[in-house]
């Protein structure tokens, strides 16, 4: 596609439920990143993929968070047993390669609200 597509754009869930957030990167981009944006906290790195493997998942806040990428394309971020502190905008980005100087193209994000 022309840009990075994320779904859903908005998700409201109850505490304790599981949620899945989807990211469709730009075709041909081998690197894919997940960031979390909380009010006043900037962009917090969660995990990145090079192809289908995740060389760096150090930013995942707890074992309730997991992500996978299949076919070198679509990625899913799963949050189990959601907590209120998980409420944030989850941003996905992709780039041609995973070199630190690459331009990241971000999606519009998935806004998660945990009640």
């Amino acid at each position: 596609g022309a840009g990075v597509s994320q779904s859903p754009s908005n998700k409201v869930t109850e505490k304790g439920k599981d949620v899945e957030l989807r990211c469709d990167p730009i075709s041909g981009h081998t690197a894919l990143y997940w960031y979390r944006q909380s009010l006043g906290q900037g962009l917090e790195f969660l995990i990145y993929f090079q192809g289908n493997s995740a060389p760096d998942k150090s930013g995942l806040p707890s074992d309730r968070f997991s992500a996978e990428r299949t076919g070198g394309s679509v990625s899913t971020l799963t949050i189990q047993r959601t907590q209120q502190e998980d409420s944030a905008v989850y941003l996905c980005a992709s780039s041609l390669r995973s070199s630190g100087a690459n331009v990241l193209t971000f999606g519009a994000g998935s806004r998660l609200t945990v009640l």
């Binding site: 960031y35 060389p55 994000g109």
Partner: protein
Amino acid sequence: QQQVKQSPQSLIVQKGGISIINCAYENTAFDYFPWYQQFPGKGPALLIAIRPDVSEKKEGRFTISFNKSAKQFSLHIMDSQPGDSATYFCAASREGSQGNLIFGKGTKLSVKP
């Protein structure tokens, strides 16, 4: 540990004025410093970037100034316009490494007409 510190948190500037946002980093291995611009409801987008072999880079009304010895870099927006109102993030990474950009916490800029 916050590796990239950004200030101010918010900034109000009159139309036509100069907006200045500052960032400081700790890791001397960083060698790529981009600025991203984010409008409400959108994801951040690359605005301008610099490498430490130059002290300044200018693109239109946007200029990055870089001070390697002080481990600081700043974004200057000349002749600020209401359309520049957005949140700006500085970031840093190591060009030769695989992995993520480290972002500052952002500056919300409002340009008053």
